[in-house]
């Protein structure tokens, strides 16, 4: 078990955004948090990474997380933002602030570029297209050699060819590099294509946690079936 959440509850004013969410993720699993927009996916990922406080507990590699950003974990935000500098500087930022040698950085860069294709490292990152931004953001995370990667809607605003490209990369990162991935998405087909296991989150409630086969072919919950058929309007 690499990550374990127990009784995660979050309220904003009167609204209960997350209602005692529990799940655990093993290594090297591809786990998807599927849910319509407003379900609480982003909030949940930000709780795991310590950006938002909540009640309940998060254990990462057996250690209870309190505050501060956990080492060994990375997050790709919904709409990632690039630093106003070269693609190279963006990708190597995490290692440079860790004072890694340039030999080490170059070695890692080679490994990462093997998985994530990036053409021009000298370009200013602010001039990249949407698909390129997502790839550079992914490369920036992978450089840190994380054990757990959280991704918040990484293909939300991309065109189909870029979606395919990113999904292909994620698949390789999980199956070839052996990284555990937790993906938050509202995209049912994407969840089906990528996940080993899924959790359906609606209005902050855990509707179902099942493996891919069960979830899509014989879901345990009637609400899941209705969601998959598109009967739940969102």
């Amino acid at each position: 078990m690499i990550l374990e959440l127990k009784g995660i509850t979050k309220t904003y004013g009167q609204q209960k955004v997350l209602d005692s969410v529990c799940f655990s993720v093993g290594k090297p699993e591809f786990f998807t948090i599927l849910g319509p927009s407003g379900a609480g996916k982003t909030t949940l990922l930000k709780i795991i990474t310590g950006f938002i406080s909540s009640s309940g507990t998060v254990h990462f590699k057996g250690r209870r997380l309190n505050n501060g950003f956990p080492e060994g974990m990375v997050i790709g935000f919904q709409n990632p933002i690039m630093f106003n500098t070269s693609v190279f500087n963006n990708i190597t930022y995490g290692l440079k602030i860790r004072k890694k040698t340039s030999n080490y950085i170059e070695g890692k860069l080679r490994d990462v570029l093997h998985i994530v294709r990036i053409n021009d490292l000298k370009r200013n990152a602010l001039s990249l297209s949407g698909g390129e931004v997502q790839r550079v953001a992914l490369a920036r995370l992978l450089m840190l050699d994380p054990e757990l990667i959280l991704l918040d809607e990484p293909t939300a605003h991309l065109d189909p060819s870029n979606v395919g490209n990113i999904e292909h990369i994620l698949h390789k990162v999980n199956k070839e590099m052996g990284k555990t991935i937790i993906l938050a998405t509202h995209n049912i087909n994407q969840a089906k294509r990528l996940s080993d296991r899924l959790m359906l989150l609606i209005d902050g409630r855990t509707v179902e946690i099942s493996d891919n086969e069960t979830f899509f072919n014989k879901p345990k919950s009637a609400e899941t079936s209705r969601f998959l058929k598109g009967d739940i309007v969102w």
């Binding site: 950006f51 935000f77 630093f83 106003n84 500098t85 995490g94 602030i97 200013n124 995370l141």
Partner: protein, 232 residues
């Protein structure tokens, strides 16, 4: 018309032959304004950073003060510094009145709010995701702060140039506290004022050309810098 043309011809000669008085005046102006901007930057940055990165009681009040001081009339600054430095003032014993040091102090007071306000503005208007991203990549507070400063570097450089522009073209404050003493505290702006009143148009025009050239250069640097994509 003849006067103007003659004035320009004579002014060009004065500049090209590096007339000692013109050189002295230009040098003093540069010395005073550059010193004020360098010191102003050193003093204004902590203010800008404190406002950008920390929450404390009275912060909004301080922001309002800084913004208001940005539009401070130089003559009022001159009067204020004069009162403090004059023989009967609290710092009268330092005998700084009518010296370049007094001029630097006056311009410092004009420059600090400009640099602080523009820098604070450019840092605080950065996308909040930048800090989260830096932290998620392992940056500690100091490293995240440095990243934000680098992201706001255009605005910070702009604040320096704007501060210099205000200092070099300001007359009121340095006239009051400097006294416009020849070869001592006579700066470009105060000299132009004096020579124009005396009808010494050649000298006034020559100094005007130099001042304009400086303002122009500052603007060119500014617009070039802002138009260019940030280097890495």
């Amino acid at each position: 018309m003849g006067v103007i043309i003659e004035g320009f011809v004579e002014a060009s000669r004065l500049i090209l032959t590096l007339d000692p008085e013109i050189v002295a005046i230009t040098w003093l102006s540069l010395k005073v304004s550059v010193s004020a901007v360098v010191l102003g930057f050193i003093l204004a940055m902590p203010i800008a950073l404190a406002l950008s990165f920390y929450n404390f009681p009275g912060k909004q009040f301080l922001v309002n003060i800084v913004n208001t001081l940005m539009g401070l009339p130089p003559v009022v600054v001159g009067l204020f510094v004069y009162l403090i430095l004059s023989a009967s003032g609290p710092l009268g014993f330092m005998q700084l009145l009518y010296s370049p040091a007094a001029m630097i102090i006056a311009q410092l007071i004009i420059v600090i709010p400009i640099i602080a306000a523009i820098s604070y503005n450019s840092i605080s208007s950065l996308d909040s995701r930048l800090k989260e991203t830096a932290v998620s990549l392992g940056a500690n507070n100091l490293q995240a702060m440095w990243l934000l400063i680098m992201e706001a570097r255009k605005g910070i450089v702009t604040s320096i140039i704007a501060g210099f522009g205000a200092a070099i073209s300001e007359v009121g404050a340095i006239f009051i506290v400097g006294g416009n003493i020849r070869f001592h505290t006579r700066a470009l702006t105060t000299a132009i004022m004096l020579e124009t009143r005396r009808g010494q148009f050649e000298l006034a025009i020559a100094l005007g050309i130099i001042l304009l050239a400086m303002a122009f250069a500052v603007n060119i640097i500014l617009t070039r810098y802002q138009a260019r994509g940030i280097p890495r």
